[in-house]
């Protein structure tokens, strides 16, 4: 395929993916916005007013970046895992497999779909957060780069889950038993400096901690961790997961008999 043909093919997958989640916006966009709004009301307003400051900021201001990031992570992941597994389960992955689409375009197309949903939900949640606090931007570049890289990483993770999944149960196990606990323990609601040293070190193994902290740094200018290290970890994970996804598609794992 020529470069232009590849661009058209990539655009086709992206449009298809965006239309897919847009058509069912009541299931894909609205629920996370409502859930996160409840977090704002309960944790930010009601409980947060009793907690006081965190790292020198109002508790609401402190948790807003983490909650936005939580919505981005779960929706980027959920979009790709459900879309890819559904495509596989109903056999319309064959529409792509019989075409000259190279594997990397399939991967990039699904990632772009996941990123699009993650960002859509992220923007909607950010909009809602403005009802509860005046968001400041310390570094717009850090905010944008972190949110794009993180949604890319979790879209890739969702794709891998979709490739390995053999039943609908398999696509809910990882989000329930891995993603949600890691997100809650990833410093969304607290600073790891509050933890004993042992648990601080344990927390540092959790990659989500780095994403939440970097994203919060973009808003507040404070972070528990090195920003450079965070970028290195996120990019490192992206490269590793992307390579693995390409390898799996190359050998036809889960998609070709």
């Amino acid at each position: 395929m020529t470069f232009m043909e590849q661009y058209i093919a990539f655009k086709t997958i992206v449009i298809k993916e965006v239309l897919r989640f847009s058509r069912i916006w009541l299931q894909t966009i609205i629920p996370p916005v409502i859930t996160i709004s409840l977090y704002f009301v309960i944790f930010g307003n009601l409980i947060g007013s009793q907690i006081g400051d965190m790292d020198g900021f109002k508790y609401m201001d402190y948790i807003v970046p983490g909650l936005i990031m939580m919505a981005v992570i779960t929706n980027s992941y959920a979009n790709v895992v459900s879309s890819f597994y559904g495509t596989k389960f109903h056999h319309h992955i064959e529409e792509m497999l019989v075409s000259p689409l190279p594997n990397y375009l399939i991967v990039l197309g699904f990632i772009a779909g996941g990123v699009a949903r993650g960002l859509t939900v992220g923007i909607a949640v950010t909009g809602v957060s403005l009802f509860f606090t005046d968001l400041g931007f310390y570094s717009l570049g850090v905010i944008i780069s972190t949110v794009i890289l993180t949604s890319t990483l979790f879209a890739l993770a969702g794709l891998l889950n979709g490739i390995f999944a053999t039943s609908f149960d398999d696509i809910s196990i990882v989000p329930t038993f891995v993603l949600t606990p890691l997100t809650y323990l990833g410093g969304v609601f607290y600073s790891i400096n509050m933890l004993p040293e042992f648990w601080q070190n344990v927390s540092r193994v959790n990659p989500i901690l780095y994403m939440v902290n970097t994203f919060r740094y973009g808003f507040l200018g404070v972070s528990d961790l090195s920003i450079g290290l965070s970028y290195a970890i996120i990019i490192g994970f992206i490269v590793a997961l992307y390579s693995y996804a390409i390898y799996l598609l190359h050998i036809g794992y889960g998609i070709r008999r």
Partner: protein, 311 residues
């Protein structure tokens, strides 16, 4: 004449050890209408799956118009269109969008894709349904949608895996006409079907696969010439109590107004009618007992099974 499809020593052994293909080699010339027949589980869909990259082969080579599907993946894929056995489109997508997306995967811009979608949807009688979700189409319409989708990138080789399964006779005949015209316009077609009448009507060349092996590969005319005897069913006007004694001792009485006659290829049907007339038997109608290709197909597959059992 170019070779549209060349398969050499193709084997496939599944993870459970089942050997679906045992070294099949065959060639299909450009412009052919080729029937690939075989009983259920013979390996037809496995061959098609390998040609279209839905199944990974164990060994062997596949070339499409001289392009190796392993080495020139993209070039080979541009030349093939597949109509699979099972519905494999997103049933929640509108009909037109399914075609436009498929064209997009082949690198065709949306403007051209919409024009081609209109062309094929009109030709296949689906234009009025273009805005409807695919799940709202009837079974026959879904089959036609898959044909339109397979054509949207204008392949030179179209592979149809049981395209008329479960389709009523009227729709089936209109699909035959469409496929005939497509073939006449230069598209090479490979068809698998369980309707042997369909294969006999449409195809000029035939390959029969059984238990992963190619047991026949020849022209339809040549194959049918191997049929030495045909059985006809004759409906007679006056009820008969016994089989008339004729020079050609080839008749069976099915019921009092129905006779079956085995006619050798070198015998004239006229002589049978003459003899029946001389016995005062008036024939009202005559038809083949079974499709000629069906008789041959059953014979070849049975012979292959006997050979296999003997070994």
């Amino acid at each position: 004449m170019a070779i549209a499809l060349s398969i050499q020593n193709l084997t496939k052994t599944y993870a459970n050890g089942f050997q679906a293909l045992k070294g099949i080699s065959l060639e299909v010339e450009e412009g052919e209408f080729y029937a690939l027949l075989g009983p259920n589980g013979a390996g037809k869909s496995t061959i098609i799956g390998i040609i279209c990259s839905l199944i990974t082969k164990s060994s062997g080579k596949v070339h499409i118009f001289g392009k190796d599907v392993d080495r020139d993946f993209s070039g080979a894929k541009q030349l093939i269109g597949l109509v699979p056995q099972e519905f494999n489109f997103n049933v929640f997508e509108p009909v037109e969008e399914i075609l436009v997306n498929q064209a997009g995967y082949f690198g065709i811009d949306r403007h051209t894709a919409f024009k081609r979608a209109e062309q094929y949807l009109r030709q296949l009688g689906l234009w009025e349904k273009r805005r409807e979700q695919a799940r709202d189409l009837s079974g026959g319409m879904k089959r036609r949608l898959m044909i339109a989708r397979a054509l949207v990138h204008r392949p030179r080789l179209l592979i149809l895996d049981e395209p008329t399964a479960g389709v009523d006779i009227e729709v089936r005949r209109s699909m035959w006409q469409f496929l005939r015209e497509l073939n006449q316009s230069g598209t090479t077609i490979i068809l698998t079907t369980h309707y042997l009448e369909e294969a006999e009507n449409l195809c000029r060349t035939i390959g029969i696969i059984d238990e992963g092996e190619l047991v026949a590969n020849t022209s339809m005319k040549q194959l049918l010439s191997e049929l030495h005897t045909e059985t006809f069913v004759l409906d007679v006007k006056t009820p008969l109590s016994e089989i008339p004694r004729l020079r050609q001792d080839c008749l069976r009485l099915v019921d009092e107004t129905t006779l079956e006659a085995d006619i050798s290829r070198d015998c004239s049907i006229n002589s049978l009618f003459t003899e029946l007339s001389s016995h005062g038997i008036e024939v009202l109608s005559m038809r083949n007992k079974t499709n000629r290709l069906e008789q041959l197909f059953v014979r070849i597959v049975e012979a292959n099974n006997k050979t296999g059992n003997a070994q």
